[in-house]
């Protein structure tokens, strides 16, 4: 397989992004995560902070409407621009890693797609979030719940399948079981097997 696209869905605090970054490094391919925000910011003339506000955010349904595929919601439009960007990249034959953005569904039509979902035990996720964001245990717990709720709503609005449902992904893995480094090793092995198939 000359082209391979690694999509990584993740629970907040499961080290999904760190795993994605390391995989991109090991396979020497670009990663589209924050990069997508800069790209959309350049295209829209918004500041990256403004795009971040609407990024992977579910829209407020009561304030939005859709007509013949058009939507007044900025969240919807930014999401669609990201999906289009990813689709163009996939179509161009480029190999890359993408974090979130419903990529496992939006890029499903490409045989090059290898879709992964990273989850974690709540205690491990809390520990990680407490350390990175310098939060108390209680705050870290509610922060995780808030972020995951947002991701779930975003995903389930744009896709027919449910966020985190193992049937949507090629491989779902709990990063708390083996730790981040060993999880990356296993994933690297799996991806190599897929590439060399």
């Amino acid at each position: 397989m000359s082209q391979f696209i690694i999509s990584i869905g993740r629970e907040f605090g499961s080290a999904g992004r760190a795993i994605a970054e390391e995989l991109a490094k090991r396979f020497n391919i670009p990663i589209y995560d924050r990069h997508l925000i800069t790209e959309i910011a350049e295209k829209t003339g918004l500041t990256p902070e403004e795009v971040e506000k609407y990024n992977e955010a579910p829209k407020l349904k009561i304030l939005s409407r859709r007509v013949n595929g058009y939507s007044n919601s900025i969240e919807d439009n930014i999401a669609e621009m990201q999906f289009e960007f990813l689709d163009e990249k996939a179509k161009s034959g480029e190999s890359f890693v993408v974090v979130g953005r419903c990529a496992e569904t939006k890029l499903r039509k490409y045989p090059a797609l290898i879709s992964l979902f990273i989850l974690g035990d709540m205690e491990e996720k809390i520990k990680r979030v407490m350390k990175i964001y310098e939060l108390s245990e209680e705050d870290a717990k509610s922060f995780i719940a808030k972020k995951d709720k947002k991701r779930k709503r975003y995903h389930n609005y744009h896709c027919s399948g449910h966020w985190g449902d193992s049937r949507l992904y090629d491989l779902s893995i709990n990063s708390s079981r083996l730790g981040i480094d060993k999880t990356i090793d296993i994933l690297e092995q799996y991806i190599n097997s897929r590439i060399n198939k």
């Binding site: 295209k43 918004l46 409407r65 013949n68 058009y70 007044n72 900025i74 669609e80 621009m81």
Partner: protein
């Protein structure tokens, strides 16, 4: 309340909530709700086979009045005339778009005013209103907003104020004629009005409001749309309008068909041809002249919207047959205390406020039987109530980004091209303009009809 009334209300409210939640596509929602109305309300609760047939209104096709109407008549149940007309216009518009008509028109006008931003701003507002009198506002805004963005990039001006003004004028232009906005088609075909009835009543106030709106938007936006180039514009850098025409023969044919549609609509009170006949004729002639592309045009017709209408009319038929809409009419009469001026203000402003937040099509379809009942019991002229309803639903939709289809399409085209328009930016300018036009309309109705 009877069981039939309770179920009719539950189905209607659930349908509205589902449309707002946007989880299931709206045509499935109305069609499902329509089937529930037929089976639960008419079949199980009322056990009334005749009500089902009346609501399906299939017999109407076989009547002469459906195609050729000398005397005004009111329709009940599924408004097939509306559906047929909208379908016909959809086919015609697809043909026009394919030939490059809309893009050519926008570019040509920009050229004629020498690509100066303020004249473009004013002419595009007027063009938006005039085109929306005959063509659905979604198509008008789709093309106008795209060309505005293209011109904004070339001339270096901010396209957002222009797109906002175009959206507003598209909704305003739509209120001027019977075929301009779906609520008007519903009101017109349900109550037996002609194109000319609308033009001389809602059209007149729309014309006055357009003049006021152009002045209002000019003063509100003139600084924002000033071009970086000032008056030094190199016309040689702009694309030639004729490049927009994809095929000269198709372009000529589609222009002639559009002209025919306009003439048929303007004269339909004299020719007695109904909008259903006009819609069918226009569709057939477009398909016949498009040769091998006919299938392609048919495929592009927005069937989802047509199904949405069918389901909607059945659900509203359920409310009508069970007497719920009469209860609403009685309620309006009660709170207005029989005061005609207050009754009209309620119809106008409540329609406007509701249309600013919910789809104005189901709202208008629901309100038509309500005003019929209100006119019968209170003695207020039905036509006056109908104009208040039409203006309220058409204009009210301009106030928010979700109030009308044109708003959604315009803001979406802007966002996808790097100019996101949030609720704040939208409402700051268009909500006051909406209130001004509604106030003008309220005064107009009182002065002219009372």
């Amino acid at each position: 309340m009877t069981a039939a009334q309770i179920f009719a209300v539950i189905i209607f409210v659930a349908m509205f909530i589902m449309i707002v939640l946007d989880k299931i596509e709206r045509h499935y929602v109305t069609l499902g709700s329509g089937i529930l109305t037929l089976t639960v309300v008419f079949g199980i609760c009322l056990r009334d086979g005749k009500a089902i047939w009346d609501t399906l209104a299939i017999k109407g096709f076989a009547t002469k009045d459906f195609w050729y109407q000398v005397t005004e008549s009111e329709s009940k149940g599924i408004n097939w005339a509306t559906i047929l007309f909208i379908a016909g216009m959809m086919v015609m518009v697809e043909g026009m778009a394919k030939a490059g008509f809309f893009r050519w028109l926008c570019m040509k006008i920009a050229y004629l005013v020498k690509c100066k931003t303020i004249p473009i701003f004013i002419t595009f507002m007027i063009m938006s209103a005039v085109l929306s009198m005959f063509i659905d506002s979604i198509t008008v805004i789709m093309f106008l907003a795209a060309v505005t963005i293209e011109l904004a990039q070339l001339l270096k001006f901010n396209p957002v104020p222009m797109i906002l003004a175009e959206i507003f004028c598209a909704n305003l232009g739509g209120s001027a004629t019977m075929c301009g906005d779906p609520p008007n088609i519903i009101v017109g075909t349900s109550l037996g009005f002609s194109f000319f009835d609308f033009l001389t009543n809602t059209g007149l106030v729309a014309g006055i409001s357009l003049v006021v709106s152009v002045i209002f938007f000019y003063f509100v936006f003139r600084k924002e749309i000033a071009s970086e180039h000032g008056s030094n514009i190199d016309m040689s850098k702009f694309p030639n309008p004729s490049e927009a025409i994809t095929n000269k023969k198709d372009f000529a044919i589609s222009s002639v068909i559009f002209g025919m549609a306009v003439i048929l609509l303007i004269t339909h009170a004299t020719t007695h041809l109904t909008v259903a006949t006009i819609g069918l004729f226009i569709a057939v002639i477009t398909l016949l002249t498009s040769g091998k592309h006919a299938i392609e045009l048919l495929k592009k017709v927005d069937y989802k919207t047509l199904v949405f209408f069918i389901g909607l009319f059945i659900v509203v038929g359920g409310l009508e047959e069970t007497g719920i809409l009469e209860l609403i009419a009685d309620f309006i009469e009660k709170i207005s205390g029989g005061n005609t001026m207050l009754m009209i203000a309620i119809i106008l402003w409540v329609s406007a406020i509701a249309s600013a937040f919910v789809d104005n099509i189901p709202f208008a379809a629901t309100m038509v039987p309500v005003i019929q009942s209100l006119a019968a019991t209170s003695g207020v002229n039905l036509n006056t109530l109908a104009w208040a309803l039409s203006i309220g639903t058409d204009i009210g939709g301009s106030a928010t980004p979700i109030g009308a289809s044109a708003n959604v399409v315009g803001t979406s085209v802007a966002a996808k091209n790097g100019h996101p328009i949030g609720w704040g930016k939208y409402c700051r300018k268009l909500a006051p303009a909406t209130i001004i036009v509604l106030a003008i309309s309220n005064v107009y109705i009182i002065v002219r009809y009372l």
